[in-house]
């Protein structure tokens, strides 16, 4: 990152003047934290006592046998408190907020995962908390909303635009410019204005640091390839960062949301399809899915957390430099990968994470059995019951919901 927050031509901080000073303060505090080894120690201590870091690296013996290629290892971010890698970022920013003395946090959320994590952190640190969530997502992810509220957060449904993640981000910025003095915006992924991409990637880098030690311990050497799904890019940067720094030639693969297919227009492929073009929005410059005028497009993915128009400027720069390869997986491929992983390993990846599995499954059979790959399981899928049971069109589930609905209807009508 250069002084203005750019990675090559990507990134920056395209922010309203009201926020300028806050960003100066944030950058200053962040750089103090990076220079202070005690801060990282405190972070590790928090993550090992409140969440369960280090998270395991699981050898997927049955999947390995199934594909007959490289040894498959799964990095288990699903075992974090709140069920996803999002906790790493949020708890780190929580420590920062404490140092800055702010009393309130806000966050955007798509799938609800980052909102859950932020509400959790706010409860733990005694902060006021408001979560912005696209109205569409509030409807899709009601269980997460319920838990956020139970943890004391206010969840605001955002009714503007496409009523999804990007609109929640805009709305969070609107809150921030209004309440900038006492409020910190806990950005949820490695996007947004600098220093967020760098800072989020830093907190998430704990994933790759652990994984590198673990794979050498279990497999005896570094992996041939590392796979991660790419929404905003935080879990991908989290696991990639340590391997990027490595001299060995480790291939890093980001898997984007192929939705109904790369040619369908209904996807969220920013880097591995020609549909995206350079742009500046939501405070940073990256490849966006936008029309010729620069208006953002609708995107689609079965995984709410990947359904985003932009992508981390750090990843865009690595893509341009060909240091990270990008692929996509369609909704259908993802459901198949999920099914196989549940049945063979007893592990339920989040729909987001299942993209990384699908991307890896396509290639792993071609690799040597001497090699290993790591798949980053960014989260657990049981949070997605409403989406997954729906996508599988499970008749018992549908009947269960119908019956419950009738029961509640009676209450309101009688």
């Amino acid at each position: 990152m250069d002084a203005n927050g750019f990675y090559g031509q990507w990134g920056g901080a395209y922010i309203p003047e009201v926020l300028y000073q806050t960003f100066q303060d944030l950058k200053a505090e962040y750089s103090r934290c990076r220079r202070d080894p005690a801060f990282w120690e405190e972070y590790l201590e928090l993550m090992s006592t409140y969440s369960c870091r280090p998270t395991p690296l699981t050898y997927a013996e049955n999947l390995t046998r199934h594909f007959g290629g490289a040894q498959i290892y799964i990095k288990r971010e699903d075992l974090n408190h709140t069920g996803a890698h999002k906790a790493n970022n949020v708890m780190g920013q929580g420590l920062l907020v404490k140092r800055m003395g702010k009393k309130r946090v806000i966050a955007e959320t798509g799938a609800g995962q980052h909102g859950m994590a932020t509400a959790t952190m706010a409860a733990k640190f005694g902060l006021d908390c408001t979560i912005y969530m696209g109205e569409e997502d509030v409807l899709r992810q009601r269980p997460n909303v319920f838990w956020m509220e139970k943890m004391g957060a206010t969840v605001v449904p955002v009714k503007d635009g496409s009523r999804t993640l990007k609109d929640a981000i805009n709305e969070a910025f609107r809150d921030w410019v209004t309440n900038v003095d006492d409020t910190h915006y806990v950005f949820g992924t490695a996007c947004g204005p600098a220093p967020f991409p760098e800072m989020v990637a830093w907190f998430q880098s704990i994933i790759g640091i652990e994984a590198a030690g673990q794979i050498v311990k279990y497999h005896g050497k570094m992996p041939a390839k590392v796979y991660a799904c790419v929404g905003g890019g935080s879990n991908a940067m989290g696991i990639f960062k340590r391997f990027l720094d490595d001299k060995e030639d480790i291939e890093l693969v980001g898997v984007e949301a192929g939705g109904h297919g790369a040619d369908s227009g209904a996807h969220a492929i920013r880097l591995s399809s020609p549909d995206a073009t350079p742009g500046v929005a939501q405070g940073y410059k990256t490849m966006f899915l936008q029309d010729d005028d620069g208006q953002m497009n609708q995107t689609h993915s079965v995984a709410a957390g990947l359904d985003y128009v932009g992508v981390s400027p750090i990843l865009t720069s690595l893509w341009e430099d060909k240091r990270v390869r990008f692929e996509s997986a369609t909704d259908d491929e993802v459901m198949q990968a999920l099914d196989l992983t549940m049945k063979t390993e007893g592990i339920i990846p989040a729909l987001e994470s299942a993209h990384a599995f699908a991307g890896a499954f396509r290639e792993v059979g071609d690799l040597s059995t001497d090699d290993a790959i790591i798949i980053n399981q960014s989260g657990r899928g049981d949070k997605d019951i409403f989406t997954i049971a729906h996508a599988f069109e499970d008749p018992s589930w549908e009947k269960f919901i119908i019956d419950r609905g009738k029961e509640y209807s009676k209450k309101y009508s009688g």
Partner: protein
């Protein structure tokens, strides 16, 4: 641009800048509203090219952006319309928009076309000067004023730095927050405006939440230009374009 405003300031104790969202509710209504504004003594008009992610705008302008886009408003249409308007009316016009609209059009192409049609300045709320090196150079080259923004959170140093890059006038946002909500013009505000004044020789425009003659009276002697934004959009929504003239007339 600064020159034009100074000439007007010689005759009035405060200037008025108004705001419209292009294509909302339609270019026809835009045209009528502008006519009424100009006829009733508005000194300067910012025309917002709608953007799908208007991060710094409040609910009223946000909705106007979205509806304009839903109506099919394209950037090319905005240029054509602006060209026609500028030809007809003898006050300075500005484009207000977000940086992506310019970036995506091609920065130089955008400046060139704007200069060709006689556009006087740009207000880009998400482009701080650090991010706008090429933008500022092109503004210079095409003689289009880059209107920079002061905020109550800007330090004195920051204001001075912004002032070195600004041309035409400085847009002082009256408070923290987004467009649309009412602002209070109390002691803190007076102090803030003094800081603004001390940081630049450019005229000062004050915007965000100015809704009435009282608000404008409060600015007289302190600011050079008052900016009316969401208020006229709401007026057109509730009472139609013809209500704009009397409203503007009543502000002085």
């Amino acid at each position: 641009m600064e020159q034009q405003l100074r000439e007007r300031l010689a005759k009035k104790d405060i200037l008025l800048m108004t705001h419209i969202v292009l294509g909302y509710p339609s270019f026809d209504v835009n045209r009528e509203v502008i006519e009424q504004m100009v006829a009733n003594g508005v000194d300067c008009i910012e025309m917002q090219i709608p953007f799908s992610e208007p991060m710094a705008d409040g609910p009223v302008i946000l909705k106007a952006n979205q509806d304009a886009l839903a109506n099919g408003t394209r950037v090319a249409d905005c240029f054509s319309f602006a060209e026609e308007i500028i030809r007809q009316h003898n006050i300075p016009f500005l484009f207000m928009t977000y940086y992506n609209i310019i970036f995506k059009y091609g920065e130089e192409a955008f400046f060139k076309r704007a200069a060709d049609i006689g556009m006087k300045g740009f207000i880009i709320p998400d482009l701080p000067p650090e991010m706008g090196e090429t933008f500022l150079a092109l503004a210079d080259k095409y003689n289009i004023a880059p209107i920079l923004i002061f905020a109550p959170t800007s330090t004195d140093n920051r204001m001075q730095e912004l002032a070195t890059h600004g041309r035409g006038f400085i847009y002082c946002v009256a408070r923290r927050g987004v467009t649309g909500k009412k602002s209070e013009f109390g002691d803190d505000f007076a102090e803030y405006l003094e800081r603004c004044r001390a940081s630049t020789t450019l005229p000062l425009a004050v915007g965000f939440g100015i809704q009435s003659k009282e608000d404008i009276d409060a600015l007289r002697g302190k600011a050079d230009m008052a900016v009316i934004g969401s208020r006229t959009i709401k007026l057109v929504e509730s009472e139609g374009a013809e209500a704009v003239g009397p409203f503007i007339a009543g502000l002085r």
